[in-house]
């Protein structure tokens, strides 16, 4: 189901250097990044980015460092202005806004979470959390009450009067998230929010984000360099390299049909059982009555194996959302799909 795009990027390019306008034509005509760097002494940040981002979903941009993902997220709220192209957010072309309108547009539409937290060191957890509201002119006591609500929500109840430097990294990022959510903006920009955290805390934070999103249904733009994180969180994933989107789709699409060897090298490391759903590996049989044990079509393969093994069976029937039989999965097929294909040389 594809909803109307909420955020639309049309041919967005960004060139860094002395005179970006002089080389923008070359960039639009797909000049190679290294060629532009060597011959014209300009650096490509983004090159001809086209993407539609639906409302109320988590859109992940994945890429290694230097792929342009942080540049891209900063184009959405115009912290970085594009050299060419159009960025439409909620029917407003943000590239055309003047300084004053842009400030208002940011206040009403965006909240941002940063990799290095970017909390205000001189403020307490409470006043950090209401920073966005304060900027928008919200007054006491609504200011404190809203902040308090979100501090509780992210699990920092009781830490209101601490300063950021008294908190651990994970707790600081909880403040960052509380600050973003307190703003109640429809779009949440998250620039590698969990990359600076250690693995266990990272997973905890991812789970918290998933729980919050179920309730809030915001449009979330999430940047990461970690494919596992992308697959876990993203409704849609776009993979960036050298400032270009090289593949965009659901996690399953990317795992099952990697566009090129660059992507398949990534996907080779992934736990496929946690991403691929039963629907993709089931065989359609004509059956009217189905087995005693059944699973939903969105069930991930790993879970299907667990069901089959615990019930000591080799096959299990798959039902759609209306509890109708649509196919059967076999243990052998499932296992074969879970095993990573041998990476192409």
């Amino acid at each position: 189901m594809i909803s109307k795009p909420y955020i639309k990027l049309k041919n967005v390019s960004k060139v860094f250097g002395q005179n970006p306008d002089t080389v923008i034509d070359l960039v639009q005509n797909n000049i190679d990044k290294t060629e532009l760097q060597n011959d014209y002494n300009h650096i490509i940040g983004l090159q001809n980015i086209n993407i539609d981002i639906p409302k109320n979903k988590i859109q992940v941009f994945m890429g290694l460092s230097g792929s342009g993902k942080s540049t891209l997220i900063r184009h959405l709220n115009q912290l970085i202005r594009p050299t060419s192209g159009e960025i439409v957010v909620n029917n407003v072309n943000v590239t055309e806004l003047n300084k004053k309108d842009l400030i208002n547009f940011r206040r009403e539409n965006f909240a941002m979470v940063f990799q290095k937290f970017a909390l205000l060191p001189h403020r307490t957890v409470l006043s950090n959390t209401y920073f966005g509201l304060q900027i928008r002119g919200v007054k006491s006591p609504e200011l404190e009450n809203t902040a308090k609500y979100w501090i509780d929500k992210v699990g920092l109840d009781g830490f209101e009067n601490y300063h950021p430097n008294q908190l651990s990294g994970g707790m600081q990022q909880r403040v960052g998230i509380a600050r973003a959510l307190a703003n109640d903006a429809p779009i949440l920009l998250m620039d590698e929010p969990f990359s600076a955290l250690d693995p266990l805390i990272r997973i905890e934070m991812q789970d918290m984000l998933i729980t919050l999103q179920k309730e809030l249904k915001k449009t979330i733009i999430f940047i990461t360099h970690d494919l596992d994180e992308a697959l876990k969180l993203g409704d849609n994933i776009a993979i960036l390299r050298d400032g270009k989107i090289i593949q965009s789709g659901t996690g399953q699409d990317i795992i099952l049909n990697p566009y090129d060897s660059y992507i398949s090298n990534f996907t080779a490391q992934v736990n496929r059982g946690k991403v691929i759903e039963c629907e993709k590996v089931m065989k359609k049989l004509s059956k009217d009555a189905f087995s005693k044990v059944t699973i939903a079509k969105e069930t991930k393969l790993e879970e299907a194996v667990r069901v089959m093994i615990s019930n000591n069976i080799n096959e299990v029937d798959v039902l759609n959302s209306k509890k109708k039989y649509i196919g059967t999965v076999y243990l052998n097929d499932v296992m074969a799909s879970i095993i990573n294909p041998i990476a192409e040389p």
């Binding site: 970017a118 928008r136 430097n165």
Partner: protein, 296 residues
């Protein structure tokens, strides 16, 4: 060959007429506008006289208590408060109380003016690279010009007295205030500024909510430096009629009164220590409440 041994300078006659015309021009200027300028400084004179009268006419135990309370409020350190009281007791015991009060008064007013003008100028410098390029050489001149030299135009304009002395002290002591305000604001972590931008903060909001509070420890260091410079300039300004501890020092130099000089010199050192320790302790406390300031 004389061109090598003697520098080809403009001839004496031209030089003299040049100097004459500049001097005459300035003299005319001060004759015509001196009164206006003087009335412009009337509020400052009022402030100066009031603060001096207050410090001198209030019974000394009360003044000492006030200073001790300020020291406590600033430093929250009982050791500093005790040493401040000890220094003041010694100064009073050696009969330098009144002069010390006069010096404290002019230092206080000079530092206040330096802060009132220095911080906005520093903020402007931080906001505009062009203004910084303009201001830097001006500040260099203010800091390196021998301090006696700018006594001359001030005296020509306003004559001898408290106000010209005060102006000279302010000019001499304002550069660190401006420079450190500029530096403090420029050193604020860019990531925090970016966060503020992303939430739609206006320039004024960034200044009030982020840049000034985060620059405050550096600004405090500027205030500290300004006070120290003002104190050292007060002695020089005594040559143009600023009363206080500087005057006995001047008398001591002229008449070779060693003990008089040394006593008053130590009194200046004493209040310098008082100002310095209290303002530094205060700066340190702000810094601690901020945690790691530029945590990157």
């Amino acid at each position: 060959m004389s061109i090598l041994t003697e520098f080809p300078s403009i001839d004496t006659e031209t030089l003299r007429s040049l100097k004459k015309s500049i001097d005459a021009g300035f003299k005319n200027f001060s004759r015509n506008y001196g009164d206006n300028i003087e009335s412009f400084f009337e509020p400052v004179r009022f402030l100066l006289i009031e603060s001096e009268q207050f410090l001198i006419n209030t019974p000394w135990p009360i003044i000492m208590a006030i200073i001790a309370i300020i020291a406590w409020a600033g430093s929250k350190n009982i050791k500093i408060v005790i040493s401040v009281v000890m220094i003041l007791l010694l100064i009073g015991y050696f009969d330098m109380w009144e002069n010390t009060m006069k010096t404290i008064s002019i230092t206080f007013v000079a530092a206040l003016l330096a802060i009132v003008f220095g911080i906005p100028i520093g903020i402007l410098m931080a906001k505009s690279n062009f203004f910084q390029r303009v201001m830097n050489p001006v500040l260099d001149v203010m800091q390196t010009m021998p301090s006696f030299v700018y006594l001359i135009p001030v005296v020509m304009l306003l004559g001898i007295g408290k106000i010209p002395g005060l102006i000279a002290v302010v000019i001499y002591s304002i550069p660190p205030m401006i420079r450190l305000t500029n530096l403090g604001i420029r050193l604020v972590n860019q990531a925090v500024i970016e966060a503020a931008d992303s939430y739609g903060a206006s320039n004024t909001q960034k200044l009030i909510y982020i840049q000034i509070p985060l620059a405050l420890p550096t600004i405090m260091a500027g205030i500290n430096q300004t006070i120290m410079l003002a104190l050292s300039m007060v002695v020089i300004a005594s040559m143009i009629g600023v009363t206080g501890l500087g005057q006995p020092v001047l008398t001591a130099i002229q008449n070779q009164y060693f003990t008089l000089g040394i006593f008053n010199g130590f009194a200046i050192v004493g209040i310098a220590i008082v100002f310095d320790r209290v303002s530094q302790a205060y700066g340190k406390r702000i810094q601690e409440s901020h945690g790691t300031i530029n945590d990157k």
